[in-house]
């Protein structure tokens, strides 16, 4: 629902590739979750060769599509695959201007939006693991790693 809401509200269409939040299902582990920009401490993506990127007042990444030369550098440098190119546009979460549609439409309350007060998350560990991985592999790795503690909890409770 987060994907369809995101895609629909921005384009009036439905497509995972038009969504700025992407659900990855790792079926054999029971883990599925959304990959979306974490507004990480490091901001790995910001090292743009033509300065097409900036950070907005909600901490969101803004890409200027007029300046952007489609070099893929931001996409390749994100450790979790939260930036993805589709039809000449890089899709990255911009928080819908402050009231994200994915949060509004998540009936499980699995996605929350908390205005940042404390320190941002670090994705340094994911960065180390992201070498030679493509966007999809980075997304899958992020969801797998994030699900590890959940899986441990399940086993502890039920086994």
């Amino acid at each position: 629902m987060c994907e369809t809401s995101c895609s629909f509200f921005r384009s009036g269409q439905t497509s995972r590739l038009r969504s700025r939040i992407k659900v990855v299902n790792i079926y054999e582990t029971g883990i599925d979750g959304p990959v979306v920009c974490q507004q990480c401490k490091e901001r790995f993506c910001m090292d743009c060769p033509v300065n097409a990127m900036s950070i907005g007042e909600n901490g969101q990444i803004i890409i200027s599509h007029t300046i952007c030369i489609h070099c893929n550098k931001c996409m390749n440098s994100c450790p979790i695959g939260a930036i993805e190119l589709y039809e000449d546009v890089y899709y990255v979460c911009d928080l819908c201007g402050g009231s994200p549609k994915c949060v509004e439409n998540c009936s499980e309350e699995a996605i929350t939006y908390i205005a940042l007060e404390s320190e941002s998350v670090s994705l340094a560990d994911f960065k180390k693991e992201s070498k030679r991985k493509n966007v999809s592999e980075k997304q899958a790795n992020f969801i797998m790693q994030s699900g590890k503690s959940l899986r441990k909890k399940w086993r502890k409770e039920n086994a």
Partner: protein, 597 residues
């Protein structure tokens, strides 16, 4: 080209020639069937050689979706696989949710039609317009999880959706399934065997398009209302908590929970195997199909296994129906059947039928290779399932289905198979739900409820019953009056959900969808003008197409009936005590309504 709602194209694949072509979907062709199951049936009606061997190259294996599949419509995940069934030799089809249908949509294909037969085991790799035939010796005998994982790793893409078969399909067990999204089964009528007979292990699909709508804002307003209606539904919490496993207690409480192979409708150890217990003790997480706001599926963990599910039919088939009071064993079997791609209803019927026949002394151990099995004998049930999957020993016979196997025994043994037209009946004793009984009897794929899912008879909405069907009795589950009218109406709504597509649990059981609403949805999504009365008319016509297709397949007209157990032996305990089904009366009324001979 159909721009809105539909993918707009058809993919035809010939596995013998390893060739494919992409065709445009014509508005004039699709308009009177909408899409999904109805479109699959129309395709078979027009193109299949009815005399073809279901496991030969000429059988057509069709994957189909509808104009609303994979859209903003809630619970629009479903896709249907159709072919001539190797189990029943008539129309076979089976639907599943998950993510595969939505991926088909953004690939731009409304139907994928597969014919021919590959010489060696392969999988199809479909990325928009590009189809590759990939050799798959490394996937032989792999489970569903492993097949999915290997293909995704091979392609370095975890957004790829995979529909595949397990060992059961490869070994052409006649009731083997196709499985996608890890656990979502196109379970019934042996679509897995058809895929296996073509040496097709899997279809991997990745779309790169998007769905456009004729009136996106109008559609948004409508689906927002529908979502609210779903959230506010009285059964929402229960369905969210337990999914279809809520039926274990529901059906037991009205005395129709198949116990020891339909000998009883009440299970004494219900609390040990209920949906409530599953949710409390083993469930760890809800799981969802594409764009659903009920997300009724569940992930569970025991100390031995973890998996998704089970749905009610599997849970019942491997607990009360087979005399097993150990929930963990049923959960283990669910995982086993899913990963090997075996239909739990037909597998459960084959095994529990054999148990009853042996209990009654109708089939002696020496007639079945020395095999003797009793109610709830877990080790033997597990072993027998594996023998079916591998077609080993007696398993080779059981792999052809209880109906086919029973033909080598006495009439008594044959009568004990709970089937219609060769398809094993689902887990709901029709003696306490008469409209369901009628549905099993007339369903075009054989003994099954999904063709009509006349849930309405359980609602006790008497006033609405009078309004809709002319008699309050239509809402009385034990009555036979008004049931032909109910099933005739419900059959159209069921086909509507299968053709849009939308989940039947939500669209039909939760009474979310009607013809008016559907006409609006379709018009806004596709830009093709639909009205409620037009929809009713074409759905009625599509139901007759199924009927005529079955006549082409050689089905005789005297098979709209039920096993003697349901028409002659009254239930002896519980809330449906004393009841049998007067099937002839209902079938006659139904056939009159349909102007059938």
């Amino acid at each position: 080209m159909l721009k809105y709602g539909y993918g707009g194209r058809i993919l035809r694949v010939n596995l013998s020639a390893k060739s494919y072509k992409v065709e445009e979907l014509q508005k004039s062709w699709i308009r009177d069937v909408i899409g999904g199951r109805a479109a699959n049936s129309k395709r078979l009606y027009e193109e299949i050689d009815p005399k073809c061997d279901p496991l030969g190259p000429d059988n057509m294996l069709i994957f189909g979706i509808g104009p609303l599949t994979g859209t903003v419509l809630p619970a629009s995940a479903y896709y249907t696989i159709s072919a001539k069934s190797p189990l029943t030799h008539i129309l076979g089809d089976s639907a599943a949710g998950g993510q595969f249908g939505a991926e088909m949509k953004i690939s731009g294909f409304d139907q994928i039609i597969i014919t021919g037969k590959s010489e060696n085991l392969i999988y199809l790799d479909i990325t928009n317009d590009n189809v590759q035939f990939v050799d798959a010796p490394h996937l032989k005998h792999k489970t569903i999880f492993d097949t999915t994982k290997f293909i995704r790793e091979e392609k370095r893409d975890f957004a790829v959706q995979v529909a595949c078969i397990g060992r059961a399909g490869e070994n052409k067990v006649l009731y083997s399934s196709v499985v996608s999204s890890g656990n979502r089964k196109n379970g019934r009528t042996g679509m897995g065997a058809v895929m296996g007979s073509k040496n097709l292990k899997a279809i991997a699909i990745k779309g790169k398009g998007s769905v456009e709508y004729a009136d996106p804002l109008g559609l948004l307003e409508l689906v927002t209302k529908m979502k609210t209606k779903i959230y506010q539904h009285e059964e929402y919490d229960k369905r969210h908590q337990m999914g279809t496993t809520m039926l274990m207690n529901d059906l037991n409480s009205i005395g129709i929970l198949p116990t020891n192979h339909f000998q009883q409708g009440v299970c004494d150890y219900i609390d040990e195997v209920s949906g409530e217990k599953l949710a409390e003790v083993y469930k760890v997480k809800n799981k969802s199909c594409f764009n659903c706001n009920v997300h009724c599926s569940r992930y569970y963990v025991t100390d031995k296994i973890e998996a998704e599910g089970p749905e009610y039919e599997t849970l019942c088939s491997f607990s009360s129906k087979i005399g097993n009071d150990d929930l963990e064993f049923a959960l283990e079997m669910n995982h086993y059947l899913n990963q090997n791609g075996l239909d739990s209803i037909s597998a459960g019927e084959a095994i529990s039928w054999l148990i009853e026949c042996q209990e009654k002394g109708i089939i002696k151990p020496e007639e079945v290779g020395g095999y003797q099995i009793k109610w709830g004998e877990k080790d033997k049930i597990r072993e027998l399932a594996e023998m079916i999957v591998t077609r080993d020993g007696i398993g080779d016979k059981l792999a052809n289905g209880a109906t086919n196997f029973s033909k080598s025994f006495s009439k008594e043994a044959q009568d004990l198979v709970m089937q219609v037209k060769g398809l094993d009946i689902i887990c709901g004793d029709p003696r306490g739900i008469k409209a369901y009984g009628l549905t099993y009897a007339i369903a075009s794929r054989g003994g099954d409820h999904l063709r009509a899912e006349p849930y309405f008879e359980l609602t006790r909405k008497y006033k609405l019953a009078r309004q809709r069907f002319g008699t309050e009795k239509a809402a009385d589950r034990l009555a036979e009056d008004g049931k032909a009218a109910l099933v005739t109406w419900s059959e159209k709504i069921a086909l509507l959900t299968d053709s849009l597509t939308m989940c039947k649990n939500i669209g039909l059981c939760m009474d979310i969808l009607d013809f008016e609403e559907a006409a609006k949805l379709l018009t806004m999504a596709t830009g093709i003008n639909y009205t409620a009365s037009y929809l009713e008319k074409i759905l009625g016509k599509a139901i007759e197409t199924d009927y005529k297709l079955n006549l082409k397949f050689g089905l005789s007209t005297d098979q709209d009936t039920l096993p003697d157990r349901f028409t002659k032996e009254p239930l002896t305990r519980g809330e449906s005590k004393g009841s049998v089904v007067n099937i002839e009366k209902m079938v006659k009324e139904y056939r009159d309504l349909h102007n059938r001979e």
